[in-house]
């Protein structure tokens, strides 16, 4: 398997929703039983992944969706939505007010905010730092203003495991060094006296992990090519044999149909081709 070249199967035969489902499986496989997983952005896909993990191998996974921990069987509408229906899941926990987020910072407490946290950004760099603040122009000043670091910085610094998630795979997103740091990667964490670093970076084309604090290619999705992935990454990825991301198993496919009976994953915004060059 490790010697097999990735097939250049990027034709219209792979509909976009299949990418969303593949990424859902990729993320689900990373979640372990007994953990608390938290996310803010990309909520549909990540919630689907967590629900999938709960059904398949992590029955005690707790899912913090916004400020709530819920237990449900189906993918629900995301946090901010025009849908009027109150969500059907059992709420098993919520923070009384948003500032209670501070109270759950102790990661050895059974009431910790999370173990695994998902982070995205305008830029993600080679060591796994993420930037939601802005882009510098040639003069060093901020020429493109980003949204702001929202809920990422503190949780991303304090969580036990950070997984980076990107809805595009482009050289503007995956850069050598971020212009500003909302969440620190491996080297910056070490310099600040923090252990570890992000474990994974999931994109519509590939799964990347880290060795010695630098990103490397773990697998390329079946609809992409290794060559394209390397060309679309803004820094060199170490050479070496690359496997194809394992496609959804029959058990995963079946569980996905339970988790997402209404096909919400079909509407998830992802750049299936990696996004603009």
């Amino acid at each position: 398997m490790s010697e097999k070249r990735v097939a250049p199967a990027s034709g219209p035969t792979t509909p976009p929703r299949d990418v969303a489902r593949l990424l859902t499986c990729v993320v689900a496989r990373e979640l372990r039983d007994g953990e608390v997983v938290a996310f803010g952005l990309n909520a549909e896909l990540l919630l689907a992944a967590a629900l999938l993990a709960q059904r398949l191998h992590a029955p005690n996974l707790r899912i913090r969706h916004g400020l709530r921990i819920e237990r449900g069987h189906e993918l629900s509408p995301s946090a901010w939505t025009e849908e009027r229906a109150s969500r059907s899941h059992e709420v098993i926990e919520y923070l009384e007010a948003h500032d209670a987020i501070l109270d759950v910072a102790n990661r050895s407490s059974p009431m910790r905010f999370c173990d695994v946290f998902f982070v995205g950004g305008m830029q993600i760099d080679r060591e796994g730092s993420a930037n939601l603040i802005g882009i510098r122009g040639k003069d060093g000043r901020m020429t493109i203003r980003g949204p702001g670091s929202i809920g990422t910085t503190s949780i991303g610094t304090l969580a036990r495991h950070v997984i980076l998630f990107s809805d595009e795979h482009t050289t503007r997103r995956l850069v050598e060094t971020v212009d500003y740091v909302s969440v620190p990667g491996w080297r910056r964490r070490a310099a600040a006296g923090l252990e570890g670093g992000p474990s994974l970076c999931v994109t519509p084309l590939a799964v990347l992990d880290f060795a010695d604090g630098r990103m490397r290619l773990r697998s390329v999705h079946a609809h992409a090519t290794e060559e394209d992935v390397r060309r679309r990454t803004g820094f060199p990825l170490p050479p070496g044999p690359v496997r194809t991301t394992p496609p959804p198993t029959p058990a995963e496919v079946e569980a996905l149909s339970v988790v997402d009976p209404k096909g919400r994953l079909d509407r998830v915004d992802l750049c299936r081709d990696g996004g603009p060059r």
Binding site: L67, S154, T157
Partner: protein
């Protein structure tokens, strides 16, 4: 027995509490519960150089006051319209032109700054955010070493006045959320009120009796507020448990703002003219939106 004093005010007198250079706290987490009616009233008064403390992640209430030229500085973890605009347009334009100072923070640090004010602390030390760009971007948020570890030294942020929008209040200033409120019990309404050095004003969908409020004290999130009955006062934002955000209106606003970013200021000026300056008050605003469109936004109680 002497009567209890009521704390009911008008939108105009509430907006008049805001003067140039003040630090103004605004409720509103993303699309939920922005005090838009009072924001439009403040914009009409043309105050200048405000510092807004909003969010922790804020939305239109912040962006509109920036677009109307009232704001010099924002203390917020982000200004976004999720799924409509990755970055709110007036915020983006003002920040990129250097017209706006941004206190760069995340949601936890935003709350810590309010906590420090509420608790009367000169600073709090926090591990979250070491190794990031925040100390580089904020002159008053430095990294320090303490007992061999690095911390961010977060200063207090204290609003001079706070405006929030909620479902209900009684005439005595007890403000409460709808029973069906979305996530957790509240967002940052109480965090802002607890930190504030001056008045707290709540615009509410409906004034209810004190007897109604007293049966469910767990729904009361702020006490001692000045209360203004302001139905649809969060529009185009939503009110947890009452109505959903009017995303079509947000898209219209975002398109106008994005035209400004591309160099065409006309659509944004037109937006302000028709929804802020050109409407004489909140009743006129509601009429301009239309009852049918508003009614379609109501949350079903099913």
């Amino acid at each position: 027995m002497t009567a209890r004093g009521e704390r009911v005010a008008s939108l105009a007198e509430s907006a008049a509490l805001v003067r140039d250079d003040m630090i103004v706290g605004l409720s509103g987490f993303s699309y939920q519960n922005p005090p838009m009616a009072i924001v439009r009233e403040i914009a009409r008064r043309g105050v200048k150089n405000l510092t807004l403390v909003s969010g922790p992640t804020s939305g239109l209430e912040t962006d509109l006051l920036i677009g109307a030229g009232c704001v010099r500085r924002v203390v917020t973890a982000g200004v976004v319209f999720e799924r409509v605009a990755a970055v709110a347009p007036a915020f983006r334009r003002a920040a990129e032109r250097g017209d706006l100072d941004v206190w760069e923070c995340d949601e936890c640090i935003w709350h810590l700054a309010l906590k420090a004010a509420a608790w009367g602390m000169p600073h709090v030390l926090w591990r979250g955010g070491v190794g990031t760009s925040l100390p580089e971007l904020n002159s008053d948020l430095k990294e320090v070493m303490e007992e061999g570890r690095r911390y961010l030294k977060v200063p207090p942020v204290q609003p001079d006045v706070v405006f929030l929008h909620a479902a209900e209040a009684d005439p005595f200033g007890n403000v409460r959320v709808a029973r069906e409120a979305y996530l957790g019990r509240t967002f940052s309404e109480s965090a802002l009120a607890l930190a504030c050095r001056g008045p707290v004003v709540a615009t509410v969908e409906r004034i209810v009796t004190n007897a109604e409020v007293a049966v469910s004290p767990e729904r009361t999130i702020v006490r001692g507020a000045l209360v203004v009955e302001t139905p649809w006062g969060a529009h185009p934002g939503g009110v947890s448990g009452r109505y959903v955000p009017d995303l079509a209106h947000y898209r219209e606003y975002a398109a106008a703002g994005e035209a400004s970013l591309r160099g065409d200021p006309v659509p944004y000026r037109r937006y302000l003219e028709s929804h802020v300056y050109g409407t004489e008050g909140h009743d006129a605003y509601r009429r301009s939106i239309g009852a049918e469109r508003l009614d379609a936004l109501r949350t079903s109680r099913a």
